[in-house]
C-alpha cells in the first residue's frame, strides 16, 4: 500500500480547491484543513416554494446551523474522535444559545414551539458534521431524553430539567437499555421502590450516550409489580446523586467522539415528584416518541450519505488508474448512481412521513420503514464507497472509513432492524397469530 503516494494525492486534492484568500487568514474564521476536503455542496435546494415540507425559514435555519457546524464543531472532530469524547457542555451551550436544542419544545421553557419538520431540518443539517458521534449525542439531548418531559412533565420538573437542557446548560442522557434488555424494553430490571416521599433506585443502564458527562438521566424503571407495559415510570434523575456510579466508558467500533457509559444505581434516592407524568405510564410515554426518534435518525444519515457519495466522486475523479480517473470506469459511476437513487428514495420517504406527521397522522409504519432503510442503506453506501477509495479508504485519514464504522450502529441502536421489521409486519398483518 503506497501510503506516501496516497498522502500526496490527498494533498493535490486540497491544493486544487479554489479557496478565497481570506479564509486562510487565521483569526476571524478559523477553518481547519479538513474544510478543504469538504465536498462541493450538492445541487442547491429546489425553489423554496416547491419543497414538500421546507419553507424559507427551514433553509435559513439550515444555513445558520451549518455555519456553527463549520466553525465550532468540524474543526475539532478529529481531535474528539482521537480522545474518545467531546465537550458536550461547551457544544450544547453554543447550540442552545442559538436556539437549536429546543426547536419543537414549548416556548415557556426556552423552546421554539415549532413543528417536527424543523427538527428534521436540524437533523439533516447535523449530518454535515464529520462524524456520527456528535450528531448522535445532540439527538439524544433533543429528541430522546427530553420529549416525554416536555409533553408530560410537571412545571416544576420542566423548570429544573427541561429549561436548562434546551438552553444547553445541562447535558441529558437516556437510561432505557440495560445489559440484559435492549430490544426487549419491557424486560428491564432497574427498580424504583417507593419509600415515603422518595423512590429508592437499584439497577443499571447500558449504552448511555453522554453518560460520562451528563447532568441528569431520563430513567425508565419498574415502579410497581403490574404488567410489564404498565409498571414502568420515567424519572428525572440528577447524575450527581449518591449511589450513581459511572462504571466505565465503553470502547466501541465507531462513534468514538461520543462517550458511551455503563451506569449503576446503588440505593439512589430521588423525590417522587421527579416522575414524569403518571406513574406506570413510562413505557407508553417512551413509545410515543419513537416515530420522531426514527425519522430523526433517518434524516441525519441521509445528509451523511450524500456527503460520502460526493466525496467519493471527487476522489475518484482525480485518482487515476490505468491512465484514466477511477470515476470514468462504468462500474464505478453506475454504482454511485444506484446509491444516490436509493438515498433520494429514502429522502422522499422521510419527507413524506414528516409531512403526514406534522398534520397529526400516525406514521409508525413509515417511520419504521425509514429507520430500517436508513440503517441498511448506510451500510451499503459506506461499504461500496470505501471500496472505490482503495487503500486510502482503509486509512483513518479519510471520512469514508469513519462513516463505515459509525453508520454500522444505525441498524442496531434506536430500534434494531429486526424490531423495525416486526413493526412493519404487524402493520402488514403478516405475523403469526397467537
Amino acid at each position: 500500500m503506497a501510503l506516501p503516494g496516497g498522502a500526496l494525492r490527498l494533498n493535490q486534492l486540497v491544493i486544487s480547491r479554489n479557496f478565497y484568500k481570506f479564509t486562510s487568514c487565521v483569526g476571524v474564521r478559523s477553518l481547519s484543513d479538513n474544510v478543504s476536503s469538504k465536498p462541493a455542496p450538492p445541487s442547491a435546494p429546489e425553489t423554496v416554494g416547491d419543497h414538500l415540507i421546507y419553507t424559507q425559514e427551514h433553509f435559513a435555519l439550515k444555513e445558520s446551523l451549518r455555519k456553527i457546524i463549520d466553525q465550532e464543531i468540524n474543526p475539532h472532530v478529529d481531535q474528539w474522535e482521537a480522545e474518545g469524547t467531546f465537550p458536550a457542555h461547551k457544544v450544547f451551550k453554543i447550540l442552545g444559545s442559538a436556539g437549536f436544542l429546543g426547536v419543537n419544545k414549548p416556548v415557556e421553557y426556552g423552546g421554539l414551539g415549532l413543528d417536527f419538520s424543523y427538527s428534521v431540518a436540524v437533523s439533516e443539517e447535523l449530518g454535515n458534521i464529520r462524524c456520527g458521534g456528535v450528531p448522535m449525542a445532540i439527538g439524544v439531548q433533543t429528541d430522546m431524553a427530553t420529549p416525554a418531559l416536555a409533553r408530560f412533565g410537571s412545571a416544576e420538573l420542566k423548570e429544573e430539567f427541561l429549561l436548562p437542557s434546551i438552553m444547553g446548560d445541562k447535558v441529558a442522557c437516556l437510561g432505557v437499555s440495560e445489559v440484559g434488555a435492549g430490544s426487549d424494553v419491557s424486560s428491564i430490571l432497574t427498580k424504583a421502590v417507593r419509600k415515603g416521599d422518595e423512590y429508592v433506585i437499584n439497577g443499571g443502564k447500558m449504552w448511555t450516550t453522554n453518560g460520562t458527562q451528563a447532568d441528569w438521566i431520563c430513567l425508565l424503571a419498574n415502579t410497581s409489580d403490574g404488567p410489564a407495559h404498565r409498571n414502568k415510570s420515567l424519572i428525572c434523575l440528577p447524575m450527581n446523586l449518591p449511589g450513581v456510579h459511572i462504571a466505565r466508558k465503553i470502547e466501541k467500533l465507531g462513534m468514538w467522539s461520543s462517550d458511551t457509559a455503563e451506569v449503576f444505581f446503588d440505593d439512589v434516592r430521588v423525590p417522587c415528584k421527579n416522575v414524569i407524568g403518571q406513574e406506570g405510564m413510562g413505557f407508553t410515554y417512551q413509545m410515543l416518541q419513537f416515530q420522531e426518534e426514527r425519522l430523526w435518525a433517518a434524516a441525519n444519515v441521509v445528509t451523511m450519505m450524500d456527503n460520502i457519495i460526493q466525496e467519493t466522486i471527487q476522489y475518484t475523479r482525480q485518482r487515476k488508474i490505468f491512465k484514466q480517473p477511477v470515476l470514468y470506469h462504468q462500474s464505478v459511476h453506475f454504482r454511485l448512481a444506484e446509491l444516490q437513487t436509493e438515498v433520494e428514495l429514502l429522502r422522499s420517504l422521510l419527507h413524506r412521513s414528516t409531512a403526514l406527521y406534522i398534520k397529526g397522522n400516525d406514521v409508525t409504519k413509515l417511520a419504521s420503514m425509514a429507520k430500517l432503510k436508513a440503517g441498511r442503506l448506510a451500510r451499503e453506501v459506506g461499504d461500496s464507497c470505501l471500496q472505490y477509495w482503495g487503500g486510502m479508504g482503509f486509512t483513518s485519514d479519510v471520512l469514508v472509513s469513519r462513516f463505515y464504522r459509525d453508520s454500522r450502529l444505525l441498524s442496531i441502536g434506536g430500534g434494531a432492524d429486526e424490531v423495525m421489521l416486526g413493526i412493519i409486519c404487524k402493520y402488514m398483518d403478516t405475523l403469526p397469530k397467537k
Partner: protein, 254 residues
C-alpha cells in the same frame, strides 16, 4: 440625525463552491449553485447591528439589488438583527451587467430617500473582487468615506475609523453622513439564532425598481470573455540547492 444606517448585502456564490466557467465562456455557472451573503457584507451587517445595540443608531436597513432570490440574503440580514429590508429588483440582462457603478447609484439614491446617517458596505464582494462600490457611493453623494475599516466608533456627529492599509493602520476622523466599508477584522458576525430567524419572517422587505428611483442601469462595460485560470502543474521536489539551480536552468527560467 436620523439614526438610520443602510447596509448593502450582496448575494454571491458561496465561498466553498468550486467555480465552473460556462461552456460558452460568457461567465460562471450560477444555476443550481449554492449562494450566500458575501462574507464582508455579513461583517457590515454585524457592525450595524452592534451600533444599534450600543444605542448609537436607531434603525438598520438592509439593502440588496438583484432578482427575487436577493430577498433570501436580506432575510439573513434581518435574522442577524436588521430592522427592515429594501429589495431593489434588477433582473435579466440588467442584473448580469450590474456592477459597482449601478449599485452605487442605487445606494446613493436610497441614502437620500431614507435620510441615512451612515452607509456600511463590505469592502469587496468575493465574486468580482471590485472594491469600488463603497468609494463610488461616497463620491456620488459627496460624503466622506472610511474604507477597509477594522474599527469604527461614533463620536457625536463624527466617526473615527481605523483603516487597514498596506503600511499598517491608519486612523481617521470623518463627518457624518459617511460611507464605511468593512474589512475582515472589524468583527465576528453573529450566528443567526433560530428565534431571530423566525422573528425575521415578520420584518418588512419593501420592493422597488431602479426606474422608481429614476436611475439608468446601463453598463459602460462589456464582458468579452471569461476563462478558468491555467491549470497549476505539479511541482517537482529537489534535494539540494545545486539541483534546484540546474533544474531552473534546464527549464530556461534561469
Amino acid at each position: 440625525m436620523s439614526g438610520r444606517v443602510l447596509v448593502g448585502v450582496k448575494r454571491v456564490i458561496d465561498y466553498a463552491v468550486k467555480i465552473r466557467v460556462k461552456p460558452d465562456n460568457t461567465g460562471v455557472v450560477t444555476d443550481g449553485v449554492k449562494h450566500s451573503m458575501n462574507p464582508f457584507c455579513e461583517i457590515a451587517v454585524e457592525e450595524a447591528v452592534k451600533l444599534k445595540e450600543k444605542k448609537f443608531i436607531k434603525e438598520v436597513v438592509a439593502v440588496s439589488c438583484g432578482p427575487q432570490q436577493a430577498q433570501e440574503t436580506i432575510r439573513t440580514a434581518l435574522a442577524m438583527g436588521a430592522d427592515r429590508g429594501i429589495h431593489v429588483e434588477v433582473t435579466g440582462k440588467d442584473y448580469e451587467a450590474m456592477g459597482p457603478l449601478q449599485v452605487s447609484k442605487i445606494m446613493a439614491a436610497l441614502a437620500k430617500k431614507e435620510d441615512a446617517q451612515l452607509i456600511i458596505l463590505g469592502k469587496q464582494a468575493i465574486d468580482d473582487d471590485c472594491n469600488q462600490t463603497g468609494q463610488m457611493t461616497a463620491a456620488l453623494l459627496d460624503w466622506p468615506q472610511g474604507t477597509f475599516a477594522s474599527e469604527v466608533s461614533l463620536e457625536g456627529d463624527k466617526v473615527k475609523v481605523v483603516r487597514e492599509i498596506d503600511g499598517g493602520l491608519e486612523t481617521i476622523r470623518i463627518n457624518t453622513p459617511a460611507v464605511l466599508t468593512a474589512d475582515l477584522r472589524l468583527n465576528t458576525p453573529r450566528y443567526a439564532t433560530l428565534p431571530n430567524i423566525m422573528k425575521a419572517k415578520k420584518k418588512k422587505i419593501a420592493k422597488v425598481n431602479p426606474a422608481d428611483l429614476g436611475l439608468d442601469m446601463t453598463s459602460r462595460l462589456e464582458v468579452v470573455r471569461v476563462d478558468e485560470p491555467p491549470q497549476r502543474l505539479a511541482g517537482v521536489k529537489v534535494e539540494t540547492v545545486e539541483d534546484l539551480v540546474s533544474k531552473l536552468r534546464e527549464q530556461g527560467t534561469l
